[in-house]
Symmetry: C2
Subunit: 288 residues, 2 copies
Amino acid sequence: MIERLVIIGVGLIGGSFALALRQAGQVRHIVGVGRSSANLREALKLGVIDAVADSAGAAVGGADLVLLALPVGSMPGVLREIAPHLPEGCLITDAGSTKQDVVAAARAALDGALGRFVPGHPIAGAEHSGVTAARADLYQGRQVVLTPLAENTPAAIERVAALWRACGAEVAQMSPETHDRIFAAVSHLPHLAAFALVDDLAGRSEADTYFRYAGGGFRDFTRIAASHPEMWRDIALANREALLAELDAYIAELELIRGLLARGDAAGLEAIFQRASQVRKDWKPNPS
Amino acid sequence: MIERLVIIGVGLIGGSFALALRQAGQVRHIVGVGRSSANLREALKLGVIDAVADSAGAAVGGADLVLLALPVGSMPGVLREIAPHLPEGCLITDAGSTKQDVVAAARAALDGALGRFVPGHPIAGAEHSGVTAARADLYQGRQVVLTPLAENTPAAIERVAALWRACGAEVAQMSPETHDRIFAAVSHLPHLAAFALVDDLAGRSEADTYFRYAGGGFRDFTRIAASHPEMWRDIALANREALLAELDAYIAELELIRGLLARGDAAGLEAIFQRASQVRKDWKPNPS
């Protein structure tokens, strides 16, 4: 049982973690910290948290688990702020979408508490944000990737993994480098590609006409373009090297298709569409 | 009342048109033509069509309406095949995703019947194909774009429009050029962009690992990559000039984002993500 859980950043991800652990009977008291007092009041009203703390530093006193669920660009400052106040034995984890940068920030800030910081990433993003979108079943059947440090004890890793499993998630482990390379390809690049398409159209004088005739394909392709701009700015910058490589690969693939189209190479186009179509049909998406 | 409706290509689009008109009480006898006899048998079994004809030429004898619902690359051959057999007064329309090429093929093939060919495009694609995916309510609340010819009489245009409205659709009119320019941007480019991403990943040695961790954003972004390869090969080639222009604009936008990311320009990235996110949130998708 966690006596005092501190959620720093009570949005979709942090709020759903709180709700899921409470529903699983794993936590007694939940304290929320965040930039928006309106959001924190809403979190109190919804029963996601039991109390609001004025600052992250003040909140973590007496905590046995701290979850950092903020845009990754805000992690270094918050880690520095909480470091002097972390009690002995308090575990720290995070829900950041990139891992090498968060690990580097933790190494810089946490000193003696580093071995109790178990980095994580729940694969449960959504285009909705804020605590009103939080739900106890968000992590049901979802994957959570932990990227443990050499300094972590097996017990610390297992404790964090067990809490995510109590939320209904499946837990995988990999290095921060592997994590960032994989998610640059399957998450960060698609977000940039969706933002790019909508921004391209939005900048045209006849934008309204284009959007009026956009159908279901466009709707789904661009759903993630409604995602949180600041969060995705941070993710892009935090995972810059891997994401630049993915952007280059994607632009090269688009240039390949452009060349086939310009030459009227029907067989070449069909071969690409055929492989993509078959692979996409055979793929079993994770639940959502 | 249509006494004899001929559907050439009894898939999702043609089959749903047949089901919707039958449900609306607008048609007495429906004849199907297609390349796959298994699909036609299924269409008979499902009650989508009442009879199968051996060839398009034989089918259109005695018809008062013919719908061409095939990949656009197959339109020229079928138009040439049916032209000598079209009865006086028989209306012809199509459901092709591109319009300038279909209009050119009709001009080349139809001679005296050209005034009775009213080109159309129902905005109701789906990644599923074949008659088993057809449903009577597919067009409910959807848009159908007609791109009438100077040779069409107002009565012919209105008759085709009224039939689509009987299927539940809203009907708009524009020139074939405007149609192809708009749909290059909001439909054809997103399809190529989704095919490109899946093909890029599918070609990697660790493809399985990437797909294992792909989440809901990837799922929706790539849904249309499961689309029919031959159909999309035809669409891409048929709308080549407009689509090349869109590919260039999209690659330029990706290069712009790449440059901002490489320079670490946080404000520049956030401005693009912010505009895209706001526009996408404000957009009211058409029903599906």
